[in-house]
Subunit: 339 residues, 2 copies
Amino acid sequence: MSDEASRVALLERAFGRAPRGVLCGIGDDAAVLAPGRDRLVWTVDVQVEGVHFQRSWLGLDALGYRSVMAAASDLAAMGARPRAVLSGLVLPPGFSDAELGALARGQARACRELGTAVVGGNLARGGELSVTTSVLGHAARPLLRRGARPGDGVWVAGTTGLAAAGLAWLARAGGAARVPVALRAAVAAWQRPVARIDAGALVARRAHAAIDLSDGLAIDLARLARASGVVVVLAEEALVTEALTRAARALAARGVAASALELALHGGEDYALVAVLPARGTPAGLAAAGFRCIGSCEPRAPRGASPLVLVARTGTRRPLAARGFDHFARGGARARAVS
Amino acid sequence: MSDEASRVALLERAFGRAPRGVLCGIGDDAAVLAPGRDRLVWTVDVQVEGVHFQRSWLGLDALGYRSVMAAASDLAAMGARPRAVLSGLVLPPGFSDAELGALARGQARACRELGTAVVGGNLARGGELSVTTSVLGHAARPLLRRGARPGDGVWVAGTTGLAAAGLAWLARAGGAARVPVALRAAVAAWQRPVARIDAGALVARRAHAAIDLSDGLAIDLARLARASGVVVVLAEEALVTEALTRAARALAARGVAASALELALHGGEDYALVAVLPARGTPAGLAAAGFRCIGSCEPRAPRGASPLVLVARTGTRRPLAARGFDHFARGGARARAVS
């Protein structure tokens, strides 16, 4: 293990040149950026070994990639574009320079795909590996969770439940086993999520509200519904995709009981983007950008009623529990729970 | 232990209202800020239990306070003022709501003293407690490490070595013992550092370069000297203060061998502010703001020579090793090493 200066030099090489508008990057006390005209949109996300991931479930390169994408997904949900990234790494004893290089390459690759770069951060030792990612971005008109109105359509770009199916398989198989064909898309959804920056930018001017799906469709949409004061009505037939049905069947064949609908409603970490759009004047290119309509908004529910309703294929309506991943609920370690 | 929603509500209460210019704080996917006219100055710092601190050495309130101050100190070193703070917490099993409340109150208190607030963050479970703090600030003309010129004076605001003396005592005594009078200032320097935002703002227009002392005077000033292409010449008599001499003697009486000069040169975590100022036109109020002159800059050293020189009380000059705390050097766990 080398000293801090040589590790910082290794990271500088991996992260490359600072993007436009970044006046001072790695190597000073802090990063310096030009202010720009747009509003600033700023988030932080933490990924901890043993809680959010096991190293047997994904390579360090994929961990770096996933950490950046998970953090940047919060910006997509505001219709914002990332300007720069700070990376806070806690490295356990014995973590080698080669391992640090792989982690940094994954972070750099995700940044390149998003048109940004890591411009600074912090290195520290610790007992367990963790990756903290702060992303600073900009938006002319950031989308909030509040703002959805009765009559609006609820659109999603990305998978719902597929990442949880992939995670369930990795947790079951331990990461070393070969991934069955029926579960490849699911494992990829968990290992390599994508922050839907372009999709967010596409709807930024028209959407009334937006959120990204990190903890699960039901719990995240309940947050949006409550913040907006509406009821979100979801169509079961729009949620249960073919890929998800295949994955759920493949899991069941391996002793993991999880219905496709349960996965779609309560599985987290897809980092799909939900945008709530007025029924009239839906932006062109919505389907081309990967959006599909999964429901609509109705007036606020009576006090105490669930802000979420599911319409089954039969047409029956039932209220939905706003549960999903919860880091602090009993037994709710994200890396162990499927839903 | 309660669920995530109630913990977020607890944090919202502790952190209070968002400061001016923050358009959206806790409770959405990301924080939203008005851009402002100044340049943005942005940093992240991580404090890990067992590496940067032991819980027996300081209360959780003090940990929260110290985490914010340590991170904001990077902004002081750029002559910047903080606008907002994001907090990423990793909480070990059994961490109670009362403990979370104490930690958050300390963060909120430090923010109030700095004229800012926590406006968002991330909660996660983990095996060990860690506090990641990202601070976003602004400066019309950020000070860098490069820019020092031969003939400039080297000024410091804050203690040098005192925090390391306090840490050495805490590590020795385990935190439970009563602090001897001669070490009270030292323990306070380690437990309750202050980000010198006002001092940084005072010199921001005149200073050629600046840095904060986190890893130790020698290693941090060597960074500034190398970035600027100068030699920094330090006066021993200016470094060894009375308080430090008293603390070193009290440590020696308790079996911890550390000379006052060693502590001043190689002890870290004082978060003092070093500003390099031209000899002419030193800003008024420098002494009143706590600055004292500790040396000066000379032309670049020959290749391979140390960029640091110490002038002893006798007038003898000797090159200084640029060592200090290093998280990755052998045996260099910050919470265990004195220098």
